[in-house]
Symmetry: C2
């Protein structure tokens, strides 16, 4: 019989379709991806084509050939200039669309992906995330900073050169707002961080763990919405991403690369998104929220029931996903 599981972090019910569940290997890519060249003359993110993007806002290293390069998004979702104005008329609420929207080019190589990078390169990416996060958070118009990556066409990417994006919005985003409300209510009732509690349970039950490192734990959630989605959660309680220490940042780089390598080798380079879900920028030190990185492989389509009900049908077993990934070499 199928099982409904409750996601305690989001209060979402998920149908775990035990009887329709596919085996982990059924989710592997069937048709091989076209091989890309390591340089593409028309790619705005390839070295030598820097004139095709807006000027860099941050470059590592700051002299010689760059290894990571940040620019304003050429087609920003939010305007970098202008004042934050809030308008309320009757039931209408509007805020002017100002904020930060940057692109982080993760490597000079056109055809690599996180799974195939050197650890030291991923460390540079995470350091860059921290730097640009702090830059965006310092903008008084910005309330929330979202870092995310789209890998592959079904994950919504438009440029194949490895890159991620950072958006600083003038309001707290919906998903974080809902998680904050839920987390503060849990703290109110039990005096504990709900995220710390989930982590403790997963470490005790072990069956959904994918990888552990000194400072982080990667696991499939008990009520995962979609096949092979995972969280990478810091062991130490921290509300905001920028509270991370340097030693934790390099550890995050290593575990992230290894988890993505497990997906890459185990499921043959699936399309995926990842995102860092952090408390709003002014929530430094709050006791009830705990940032984490969420990885969402795009292996199934969102159809009418998910859209209409907001209830996901997961056609895989979280415990089987985790066991499968544990056995893939990283």
């Amino acid at each position: 019989m199928p099982e409904l599981r409750h996601n305690i972090l989001t209060r979402e019910w998920v149908i775990i379709a035990t009887e329709r569940a596919k085996r982990p290997e059924d989710f592997a890519r069937k048709v091989e991806k076209t091989r890309l060249p390591d340089f593409s003359p028309s790619c705005p993110f390839c070295p030598g084509n820097e004139h095709l993007t807006p000027p860099a806002t941050y470059v590592v290293p700051d002299d010689g050939a760059w290894r990571v390069r940040v620019t304003t998004n050429k087609f920003p979702a939010l305007s970098r200039v202008g004042e934050r104005r809030r308008v309320s008329v009757g039931i209408r609420r509007m805020v002017s669309g100002v904020g930060i929207h940057e692109v982080i080019v993760e490597t000079p190589a056109h055809n690599l992906t996180t799974a195939l990078l050197e650890d030291s390169q991923v460390e540079l990416i995470i350091e860059t995330y921290l730097h640009r996060f702090r830059f965006a958070a310092a903008d008084p118009r910005v309330e929330q900073v979202t870092i995310f990556k789209n890998h592959g066409e079904s994950a919504g990417t438009s440029l194949e050169h490895p890159h991620s994006q950072i958006i600083g919005t003038p309001v707290v985003t919906t998903q974080v707002r809902d998680r904050l409300v839920n987390a503060v209510e849990h703290y109110d009732e039990y005096g504990e961080c709900i995220f710390c509690r989930v982590l403790e349970m997963e470490l005790k039950e072990k069956i959904r763990l994918v990888l552990e490192s000194e400072h982080f734990v990667a696991f499939v959630q008990f009520a995962a919405l979609t096949p092979f989605s995972m969280l990478i959660m810091p062991r130490r309680h921290m509300a905001v991403f920028s509270e991370m220490r340097d030693s934790e940042a390099s550890d995050l780089a290593r575990i992230l690369r290894r988890v993505l390598a497990k997906l890459y080798h185990g499921l043959h380079d699936p399309d995926f998104n990842y995102t860092i879900r952090t408390a709003p920028t002014d929530h430094l030190g709050v006791k009830y929220y705990h940032w984490y990185l969420s990885i969402i492989p795009r292996l199934t389509r969102v159809a009418g029931f998910e859209l209409g009900a907001g209830m996901f049908i997961n056609v895989s077993l979280p415990e089987e996903n985790a066991e499968f990934l544990r056995q893939v070499a990283a």
Copy 2:
């Protein structure tokens, strides 16, 4: 400058990307769809192939050749038999996966779509929705009934023969639960149904209206999450779908067909989902919730920012969407 708009029904902020906005005609399908035959020998929903599906649970008319046919889903997400059991262990909450999952075959013709059906056929479909909704609602294990349709591959359909689905879940689904909480708080504060208020505003402002009928209004929301998404809302306050009267049901059939015909002709048969968002089955007569039908054309991809932040970037203008659709003949 882009504009952030607040969706008062869901409390979601949407970025209306005014400067990146595409023109309505840019969303039209570019590559023509393969023409389908009116009968497919291997299709389980085509007449003569009834043995390929589970037995019918409802057929219209009940003698002679069927025009609408309902069966249990061959691969149900929920089990029809079994008891609803709820388990709480620590922070874990589980419910046994029991409920109703039926498929409604909307026409004997393999290659038609709602836009191309006779009004009388769409009336039969809506009557069938009502009948099966009441059947599912009468099951004491069912708390919420969701009716939805997936049209086209990117809307998640696996069988091209026109059909919709109905799922009766043993818990209230997330999206309805969130809307209920929001609506009850609005009622608490202002003593009015938030949905009635939105409808009143749209009728007054007129610029986002697509089509009006005696009993329903079709409009693009002020803070629509995605291009050309629309609501069809009953003018009369009703919390639960099954409170609809017969005259309203046939009017809904006509406006639904015409709105979908506008999409079909204006955007060249786009993939879409629609769903009926109703209060839970035991909420008959409540004053704060108001059911509606939501149409979501699948014209853009959900990428990392939408997944990670829950904040949508709408690359079209709701007012332009509505104006464009008003001018398409239905």
